[in-house]
């Protein structure tokens, strides 16, 4: 890609990550349990339960995006305008750039100083970025300038940014995209044509996408009208910003299916891969609604995938449930209750399915204890599910844990033979890639029996796929199960 586009990718990812940090802070807040919020803000209560003095509760916001955003805002607001902004900026930058450029998250002080400078003299602030003997100015501007400029535009309006749209800081790219976003957030469709004239052909599509990315959901019909009249489907390719809302998603779905809307525009909506990826996490939409969007890519497995994804997310969001379960601090029913509470629609509609997905999440932490979740199932269904977990959930773990899980399922049942084999096959390549010959030695060290045989078979299959036929043969020669030997013979016959 061109340097410009490469920078766009860097910019876009910065924008995304940083925007999520504080603009998206609200989103993070929404997704937390009320209890957890209280725990974060009421150290006294937590310390009662944990014996933890309040002083050790989260003084630094590392690793906690919600608190990091709060801390940033606090420091940003606290800084008052100094008499000599450029000088103060030099100091703040030196503090931020601890030896490696852009080593840490953006500094609230640098951001605020840039913002104040922009209020004072927007052009000078932009020009400063490209000046300076070292590259520090440019680095600092990359990391902070767009944040500052975004706030500047938010308070002064998009027109205040027009004077820097031609500024050659990174081909004026930052400025254009930020102005576009600001315009989109508070749009005046009649001004679009005039604004677009200031953006040259090559950059136009990114500019258009940025406008759409911040357009108010309540006014989307105006955006559609604008895109139709101006023949700019690009305006619809950036919808959703950091996280598409449920309302936005429903509008998109409706328009995508509306035959009266020009095909170009509908295709533009469909093309927004970013949107399609993020919609997965929008739990204000039902599993079915989200599956609509993902069916094109995933087919019929979309609902199952989304359900599993939701449960996974819930377990990551609040308390450290997986670790608590592993250490015996929390039991399966408690965790199931929490997940059900966080996914009420799912729990109400299909509690058995929910239970299954919680099992899939917890089995890798402790296969023995996790079994309790399957108590209500008949033997056959239970064993089938446990083997399915072998293919589905027990990936990239300590193989001894995998073996433990397999050992909980009877090894002598013909109906369960294939499921067990699938589990071994699913993990062979990954395990070998990660553990190398250590894995081979481990399989060889297993006691004789179906697991050893299937382990050998799975690994041999991996080797064969990589063209390492001699190594594959060595392993197959040790397999005792005649059914497996026969399977291998017929599988490899085709290739020879």
């Amino acid at each position: 890609m061109t340097k410009m586009r490469a920078r766009l990718v860097v910019l876009a990812s910065h924008l995304g990550v940083l925007a999520l940090g504080w603009w998206g802070g609200r989103l993070a807040l929404d997704r937390r349990d009320a209890n957890e919020l209280q725990a974060a803000e009421a150290p006294a209560k937590a310390s009662e339960r944990m014996g933890t003095p309040a002083a050790t509760q989260k003084e630094t916001p590392d690793g906690n995006p919600q608190l990091a955003a709060k801390e940033f805002e606090r420091r940003f607001s606290a800084l008052a305008a100094p008499a000599d902004i450029p000088a103060a900026l030099e100091d703040a930058m030196r503090e931020w750039a601890t030896g490696e450029f852009g080593a840490g998250p953006p500094s609230p002080e640098v951001t605020k100083l840039l913002y104040l400078w922009m209020e004072q003299d927007l052009l000078a602030a932009f020009r400063w970025a490209g000046s300076g003997k070292s590259k520090l100015n440019e680095e600092a501007f990359t990391r902070h300038g767009m944040l500052a400029f975004a706030r500047f535009l938010e308070s002064k309006g998009w027109r205040a940014g027009l004077q820097v749209m031609g500024q050659s800081v990174f081909d004026g790219f930052y400025a254009k995209l930020q102005v576009a976003r600001a315009f989109g957030a508070n749009p005046d469709p009649t001004a679009y044509a005039e604004l677009a004239k200031l953006v040259d052909g090559g950059n136009r599509q990114y500019f258009d996408a940025a406008i759409g990315s911040s357009w108010p959901v309540a006014r989307l019909n105006e955006l559609l009208k604008l895109a139709t009249e101006e023949k700019r489907p690009g305006l619809l390719t950036g919808l959703g910003g950091t996280m598409p809302s449920a309302d936005l998603a429903r509008w998109v779905w409706r328009v995508m299916g509306d035959d009266t809307v020009p095909e170009d525009l509908r295709a533009a909506l469909r093309s927004n891969q970013d949107f399609m990826t993020k919609i997965l996490q929008q739990r204000d939409l039902s599993i079915e609604e989200r599956a609509n969007f993902l069916k094109e890519r995933m087919g019929d497995s979309a609902p199952e995938f989304i359900a599993g994804h939701d449960v996974n997310d819930v377990l990551n969001e609040g308390r450290d449930w997986r670790y608590a379960f592993r250490r015996g601090e929390a039991g399966v029913e408690e965790i199931l209750a929490v997940v059900s509470k966080r996914l009420p629609a799912f729990a109400a509609e299909d509690p058995a399915e929910l239970r299954k997905h919680v099992y899939f999440q917890l089995v890798e932490e402790d296969p023995v204890k996790a079994q309790e979740l399957l108590k209500g199932l008949g033997e056959e269904d239970r064993y089938k599910l446990m083997l399915e977990a072998g293919s589905h959930s027990l990936k990239n773990i300590d193989p001894d844990i995998f073996l433990k899980a397999m050992s909980l399922v009877p090894a002598d049942s013909p109906e369960l033979w294939q499921g067990r084999l699938d589990a071994w096959l699913s993990n062979s390549s990954l395990n070998y890639e990660r553990m190398g010959d250590g894995y081979t030695a481990w399989i060889r060290g297993l006691p004789a029996g179906p697991d050893r045989d299937m382990g050998l078979y799975g690994l041999a299959t991996s080797f064969s796929e990589e063209g390492q036929d001699d190594s594959a043969k060595e392993l197959i020669d040790e397999v005792k199960d005649p059914k497996l030997r026969e399977l291998w013979a017929s599988a490899t016959q085709g290739g020879k």
Binding site: M1, T2, E36, A39, A46, R49, M50, G51, T52, T56, K58, G63, N64, T98, E100, F101, G102, A103, G104, D200, G201, G202, N203, Q205, P233, G234, T237, E263, D264, A267, A268, S271, N312, N316, G318, R319, D320, W321, R322, Y323, A324, R326, E329, A330, Q361, E364, E365, K395, N396, I397, D398, L430, Y432, E433, R434, M435, G436, G438, A441, W442
Partner: protein, 436 residues
């Protein structure tokens, strides 16, 4: 191979660059405490916060310092913490524990989950805590990891060792290649090369070590990767004299590639001068090494191409793909104009595509104008229209643009290809008869 090693070295650079940017403290920083030093440490505060006061008193007398860490580790409860908070505490404990008793700390970490459910990756979320310990005593750590104690997961730890030590002592990593498991060799070499970028003088030592490895296709591959990491610049004349005087072998190849690296930003005149100064029988391989050393954004690409084409070195020209030309930094219009001078040969087709891609993709209006200006039987017009058709669907999202391009195409085969594009994307032409 050339393309893939270039891409790989750059991917490694990107990934490790990002990772290295997070490292705040270097390996020689004065952060190591003597094992029994007084004063509040992370361990002490953990003990205080995690254990009840009474049991702290009980434990204070017994056990080694490592035992204390083990106990603190055991006592680390989930409580009301988030995943990130718990991981942070574990990392802090491990980092200190590893300095005191590496084996025990590794035992503990490998008893935790091996994958990262929070990030959804197969990376062990806690192994990064061992970086400082690995920096402090890389060979001791190596021996321990390879001792068999951590099987079957030893290679997982080894991978972390490689990435850590590549930063602090990349030459050491390369010197250990002969003892590494095969599956980690590529990663070891690319990480070491990234680390060498931060340590002046290391690359030369690494190249030297690589040239003296047993000759094999694989080892040659690593040598090529190292050559790709050679810096641009230097005295091209001196470098040329050096390699042309050497007898053949890997040292000569390395020297030749060093010369080629010096020309990554050269203009046509410089390259021509270097070319002319070479003995005739060395020229073709010299050109090969020139192209092999080019980065996606090296200014010398087009001058080198022009030189190669002028000298009739079509074999070398054929190795270049469209991607490099697309990435080449030049005004899209100018690049397209340059592409108009390409002779019609099988070797230049993809080069043409790449050179005009920027204009066609990013500035459709200008592209239409430019294409319209071409003769209708020009092979370039045909190719440009086909590419424009595809871009109309995938980048412009404009059936209007597609219809324009389709209408311009005269050659039936090309027309069919364009129709195929529609079909594959599930679209219909919605052709309106202009006479209606």
């Amino acid at each position: 191979m050339k393309r893939s090693t270039l891409i790989l070295s750059h991917l490694a650079a990107l990934a490790a660059g990002i990772a290295f940017a997070v490292i705040a403290v270097g390996p020689n920083a004065d952060g190591n405490q003597a094992p029994n030093s007084p004063g509040t440490t992370q361990l002490d505060s953990h003990l205080q916060t995690q254990l009840h006061p009474e049991s702290v008193a009980k434990r204070a007398t017994g056990g080694s310092r490592s035992e204390q860490f083990r106990e603190a580790w055991r006592q680390l409860r989930a409580g009301d913490q988030t995943v990130e908070e718990r991981l942070k505490k574990q990392r802090e404990l491990l980092e200190e524990w590893a300095q005191v008793d590496l084996a025990a700390a590794l035992d503990a970490v490998m008893a935790e989950a091996w994958d990262d459910d929070l990030k959804g990756t197969n990376e062990h979320p806690l192994l990064g805590a061992f970086q400082k310990a690995f920096w402090k005593d890389p060979l001791g750590a190596w021996k321990l990891i390879q001792s068999g104690r951590y099987d079957p997961g030893a290679q997982i730890i080894l991978r972390e060792w490689i990435n850590s030590v590549a930063y602090s002592d990349p030459v050491l990593v390369v010197s250990m290649l002969g003892e590494m498991p095969r599956g980690l060799l590529r990663e070891a070499v690319s990480s070491a090369l990234v680390g060498a970028g931060q340590k002046p003088g290391s690359l030369d030592q690494i190249v030297e070590k690589l040239t003296s490895l047993p000759p094999s296709q694989e080892n040659f591959q690593w040598l090529m990767m190292a050559c790709n990491a050679m810096p641009t610049g230097g005295d091209s004349n001196a470098l040329r004299e050096k390699w042309t005087a050497m007898s053949s072998g890997r040292e000569k190849i390395a020297a030749q590639f060093a010369w080629a690296a010096s020309l990554r930003e050269a203009d046509r005149a410089t390259m021509e001068a270097q070319w002319s100064a070479l003995p005739e029988n060395a020229r073709q391989q010299a050109l090969n090494s020139l192209f092999a050393q080019l980065y996606p954004d090296s200014p010398a690409l087009i001058p080198a191409l022009d030189l190669a084409m002028e000298k009739g070195e079509w074999g070398v020209v054929a190795t270049l793909g469209a991607g490099k030309l697309d990435e080449y930094e030049m005004d899209p219009k100018e690049k397209a104009e340059w592409a108009m001078k390409l002779p019609e040969r099988s070797e230049t087709q993809r080069i043409f595509d790449g050179a005009v891609a920027g204009l066609l993709r990013d500035d459709p209006e200008a592209a239409k104008e430019w294409i319209s200006g071409m003769d209708s039987d020009d092979w370039r017009k045909k190719r440009a229209l086909l590419q424009f058709s595809r871009l109309a669907l995938d980048s412009h999202h404009s059936m209007e643009n597609f219809r324009w391009a389709y209408g311009q195409i005269t050659d039936p085969a090309t027309k069919k290809s364009a129709e195929g594009m529609l079909q594959v994307r599930g679209r219909e032409l919605e052709w309106t008869d202009p006479d209606e």
